[in-house]
């Protein structure tokens, strides 16, 4: 967590053993999560993992079937959505089409019976905060997708909610706008110090903006930690596989030491029984070298700040490696690889 968010006035949020079923299908099976005031937590996971359900349960849009949700220590499970005092930004564009930008932003204040002049002032100030002060009189259909989501953000923030909920707000936007708005959301969140939950299926997005990331699968939180913790010390292969890219390599475990392609590496996370395992090796943990594991380059792609190359090391194994753009191996070229001595995540092979 950064210093600025520590100083924030946001609320604490606690999920305690929260259960939610959808017609017999378990969407949340005992989710427990604690979010500090001013913290930015991302809920990350594949579709159907329960991340959006968790967010909607917190907002009150879904009733939970068990457990409690505490905001500043008070259970809000029975509080209706319009009394929970949350700001929410939705995945689909949700601006009221019959209202101008500023009327949209004012809506929450109108519902709170804030006097007209104060309403207009606060709405204008919040629109300035998201950089759209000049578009106050436009209608939603006159705005681009990115602008609409900014207005939605302003609308969610203007009431000074206790918690800000972002339900994949960037997924409908194109890549460049997505990056800009992502950074903007983080800047504004830090500035306001508001406790924020951010749902996304995009691991890069989650790692880039969040103080902590909760990786979810099948209605459970598999691991929660800082982006560094998740990336460097995933508790299980699912997390290792979901967060960042990994090569799946057949290996042998013996007493917590995994032998991968002839290199002995310490095992990460929970202990595994001795025997054959599948090790997950990050592309940046494999290097080109003058000597080592021999292989043939299959393909190589330029990714801006680095290059990613596929190297065939045996009939059934192609390793993805990451290296400097200065080196550009040609397809068909013979190369040698070495594994860096980082601990690896592994799961028993069946």
């Amino acid at each position: 967590m950064t210093d600025s968010t520590l100083a924030g006035p946001g609320a604490t949020v606690e999920f305690i053993d929260v259960i939610k079923d959808f017609s017999g299908q378990r969407a949340l099976s005992g989710v427990t999560l604690s979010v500090q005031p001013g913290e930015f937590v991302a809920l990350l996971g594949p579709s159907g993992c329960g991340k959006t359900t968790a967010l909607r349960a917190l907002s009150g849009l879904e009733q939970v079937d068990g457990g409690s949700i505490l905001i500043d220590g008070v259970d809000v499970v029975d509080v209706p959505v319009n009394k929970r005092d949350m700001g929410m930004v939705f995945q689909s564009y949700s601006l009221f089409p019959h209202m101008t930008t500023v009327e949209n932003v004012e809506f929450g204040l109108r519902m709170r019976k804030v006097p007209a002049t104060e309403r207009r002032e606060r709405a204008t100030a919040t629109l300035d905060l998201v950089g759209l002060g000049s578009l106050a009189t436009r209608y939603a259909h006159q705005l681009s997708g990115g602008q609409q989501q900014r207005v939605a953000l302003a609308r969610a923030l203007v009431t000074r909610p206790r918690v800000l909920l972002l339900d994949e707000p960037l997924s409908a936007l194109d890549a460049k706008v997505r990056l800009q708005l992502r950074d903007e959301i983080r800047r504004i969140q830090t500035e306001l110090g508001i406790t924020t939950l951010f749902v996304t299926h995009d691991q890069e997005e989650a790692l880039a903006v969040a103080d902590r990331v909760a990786v979810m699968r099948d209605g459970n939180i598999e691991q929660i930690g800082t982006p560094e913790e998740l990336y460097l010390s995933p508790v299980n292969p699912f997390v290792a596989d979901f967060v960042g890219l990994s090569n799946r390599v057949a290996a042998e475990n013996s007493g917590g030491i995994v032998t991968v392609l002839g290199t002995r590496l310490p095992l990460l996370g929970e202990r595994q029984p001795d025997g054959p395992v599948t090790a997950l090796i990050r592309p940046e943990d494999v290097e080109l070298a003058s000597d080592g594991i021999p292989g043939t380059v299959v393909a190589s792609s330029f990714l801006g700040s680095m290059r990613r190359t596929q190297v065939r090391v045996s009939d059934d194994l192609v390793l993805s490696i990451q290296h400097e753009v200065g080196e550009h191996p040609e397809p068909g070229e013979r190369v040698h690889l070495v594994l860096r001595g980082r601990p690896v995540s592994a799961s028993p092979r069946v």
Partner: protein, 272 residues
């Protein structure tokens, strides 16, 4: 637009399209022009007169046409009550089903479409005993006929509202409004109704048009409305009957134009 036309390759030329429009226009215009011409005829002897129109404004003749004026009033009352049924029963039901009971959407659609498949005369056979009860409960006031009309306009009203509902993401809009502190009343009044305005207006106007043109049910249930009165009057004074038919036609045309106007203004359309 042009892209679609190119793809289909069937956009008619300007002359062809005007010829088609003109042809269709004539098909509609000739009977109407004939009706108008008829109302000015002096009689079998030939010649033209304004008498058939002026007689309607003559206070001395009022009694003669009182039945017709009452019938117009009845039809207007029926139109209002029918629209009220659509707005107070059908609309909230549709919104509720859309937001809370999506599984019932098909059922509701099916129920609302049924009346179009049942001939009016069959409907009356079923309604006759029902009206025995209605009369005992509500009396035989004019407006009670609107209970039947509420059923006959269902398919049209349902379609108009549904067409609007499917262009608005009501679920997200209502969730957004609720998360901003709005109760259900405010969600309905400030968010949903303004965005369903076009569908609501179209449903209301088309209901009025259907009610003003309804004859079978009123006639078979022995009620008096504009159409039954027209048939009645035409037996003694065909000129006045045709004049009223023309006026009714004009009113319906006006309503349809209004629907068109309302439908073509799209404040809520999105770019992408």
């Amino acid at each position: 637009m042009s892209e679609v036309a190119v793809r289909i390759g069937a956009k008619p030329g300007r002359i062809t399209s005007r010829a088609i429009l003109g042809g269709i226009g004539l098909v509609f215009a000739i009977p109407i022009i004939a009706m108008i011409e008829f109302t000015f005829r002096a009689g079998l002897g030939g010649g033209y007169t304004l008498d058939h129109w002026t007689v309607l404004l003559d206070p001395e003749q009022n009694d003669k046409y009182a039945q017709l004026f009452t019938a117009v009033r009845n039809s207007l009352v029926l139109a209002v009550v029918t629209v009220a049924i659509v707005l107070l029963i059908l609309l909230p039901t549709m919104i509720l089903v859309h937001l809370q009971f999506p599984k019932l959407r098909r059922v509701l659609e099916f129920i609302c479409i049924i009346p179009i498949t049942v001939p009016a005369i069959v409907l009356v056979v079923g309604l006759a005993p029902v009206y025995g009860v209605v009369v005992r409960v509500f009396g035989s006031s004019v407006w009670t006929l609107a209970l039947a009309y509420g059923i006959t306009v269902l398919p049209y009203a349902y379609r108009s509202i549904q067409a609007n509902i499917s262009t608005v993401d009501m679920i997200t809009l209502s969730e957004a409004a609720r998360s901003l502190g709005a109760g259900w009343g405010n969600v309905m009044w400030r968010i949903l109704l303004p965005n369903l305005r076009r569908g609501i207006l179209a449903a209301s106007l088309i209901s009025v048009a259907v009610v003003l043109g309804e004859y079978t049910i009123a006639s078979l249930l022995n009620r008096s409305n504009l159409q039954t009165a027209l048939v009645q009057v035409s037996k003694s004074d065909p000129y006045v009957a045709v004049i009223f038919a023309l006026l009714a036609l004009g009113l319906v045309l006006l309503l349809l134009l209004l629907i068109g106007r309302v439908g073509s203004t799209k404040p809520g359309r999105r770019l992408s």
